[in-house]
Amino acid sequence: MSRIFRHKSLAFILAAVLLFTAVYFHLFYGIIEITMYQAICSELDSKSAFVFYQHRLPLMCTAFLCGASLSLSGLYLQHIFRNILAGPSVLGVSSGALLFVALSYSTFIGGSVLAVSIAGILGALMVLSLLLFLAPFVKNTELLIVGVLFSFIASACVDFIAFSTSAQTLQKISFWGFSSFERATFSQLLVLGFALLVCLLGGCVLAPQLDRYALGDLMAKSIGVNIRMLSVLSVLMAGVLVALSTAYCGPVAFIGLVVPVIIRMVVRQAGFLKLSFYTVLAGGLMGLYAGVFQKIIFENQILPLNTITSLFGVPLVLYVLLQKKTYASL
């Protein structure tokens, strides 16, 4: 795969074309016809303007931010757990967030932006701190199984909440479980964008340490890496990113796992700093395309995003797994 991207400029042109195509489909494809000319010269009538600014533009931003956040959190998690299969959905982080969001919906706390965000963050961080606590005691592969077990417990609890709550709340919770980029509000977008920026900058600050962390605990410690602080900070950032995107868009599978792996396979000479920037861009692109496919294939019906991300994500993960040599050594 890296051979295709040997020429940097070629890769950038490809990325630009992909980005442009995705933006085009997001903004100028749909039942209501809006041309690029109309949008640029602001010749939109009130109906088209509403669709353009209130629906398509925010949807596109959500798709980008959600994909980018999940991917960046996946990059952090893979790095800290030193396991390329450690993604937010695999480790049960999304399920933890889902559980707490369901709790928030079904109790007096309610479903306000603030409540859902905080509930999501708490749930994600709870799972992550448990994993971080267990990490020294179990093998790398076993940690993934622990994550899967957490998901089972969390979804059992969600079922229990759904079972014992009112029909209205039940509907809200199950609707929320069908992930979609459609329902994030403008204020949620701002929060997610801000969190992504903070975590990206945090990654810039921690990058030199994170690169050395990859050498293994003892080796990293001997050259001055503060292992505990680094893992706690990285997991915190990953948790916030997963939690917010899960709280606003529902649990979106596989983007957070696949994108960082692809970026790692393509970028061989650069450290965590560049990896994180490429991951954010590629993740955003992946989010955009998930949205585009949702729009084109299913003719604007609200189909759960997970259906699409799983259909594309699983083959990619299998491809990575089947590259035995790559996987065995990481």
Binding site: R82, R212, S222, R264, R268, A270, S329
Partner: protein
């Protein structure tokens, strides 16, 4: 110099009891002992990575704390796994940005042609050499190696010992390594510490 005063090490069971010793610069020390006798534990403690149960370690008359250890000591753990798809050249840049030194050491162990290959496709022996080069690149006055000879062929074992002896002369450093190789032990190591005498 690095001075141990009556140090005690171990977990449930004591591995080292009342060990006092002075490691001097420009010297090469070998730690020998059977499996599970505490060679790695001792080395980690000497490198300031593991607290002692009792006793003291001093480095040039200062207490051996993490900051002191970081500026004076480099350490090669026995267990290591690099997580990343990056190349050998990138791997080495994590230890030192000095390209000349990197190329020099890569040349010594015939690894130049592998510099731009991803680290994970290297053989176990080549990875071991890469880690050793990483430790040497740090150019610290005290260098501790936990089993540096594993995976290495006879030629590279001899090369490594020659490089270590040269560094001891030119940089006036102190090198301590644990090993099982009788031939290397007799040929190169003047000072030996036997774990069975430390308990």
């Amino acid at each position: 110099m690095l001075v141990c005063e009556q140090i005690q090490l171990g977990y449930d069971r004591l591995l080292v009891d009342g060990f006092s010793y002075t490691f001097k610069r420009q010297n090469l020390y070998g730690i020998v002992g059977k499996n599970g006798s505490g060679k790695s534990t001792l080395l980690q403690a000497l490198a300031g990575l593991l607290p002692v149960k009792s006793g003291h370690i001093y480095l040039d008359n200062q207490r051996l704390t993490r900051p002191v250890a970081q500026s004076y000591i480099s350490f090669l753990p026995a267990q290591k796994q690099y997580f990343g798809y990056q190349t050998l050249a990138f791997f080495l840049s994590l230890f030192s940005k000095d390209k000349d030194k990197q190329n020099n050491l890569l040349g010594v162990f015939d690894l130049q042609e592998h510099a731009n290959k991803p680290f994970y496709i290297l053989s176990d022996g080549q990875k071991q050499l890469a880690y050793i080069i990483g430790v040497l690149l740090q150019e610290k006055p005290f260098v501790f190696f936990d089993e540096p000879l594993v995976f290495l062929d006879i030629t590279n074992k001899n090369k490594l010992m020659d490089v270590l002896n040269e560094q001891i002369k030119t940089q006036k450093c102190c090198v301590v390594l644990s090993l099982h190789d009788q031939y290397i032990l007799e040929r190169y190591i003047p000072h030996q510490i036997d774990m069975k005498e430390l308990l």
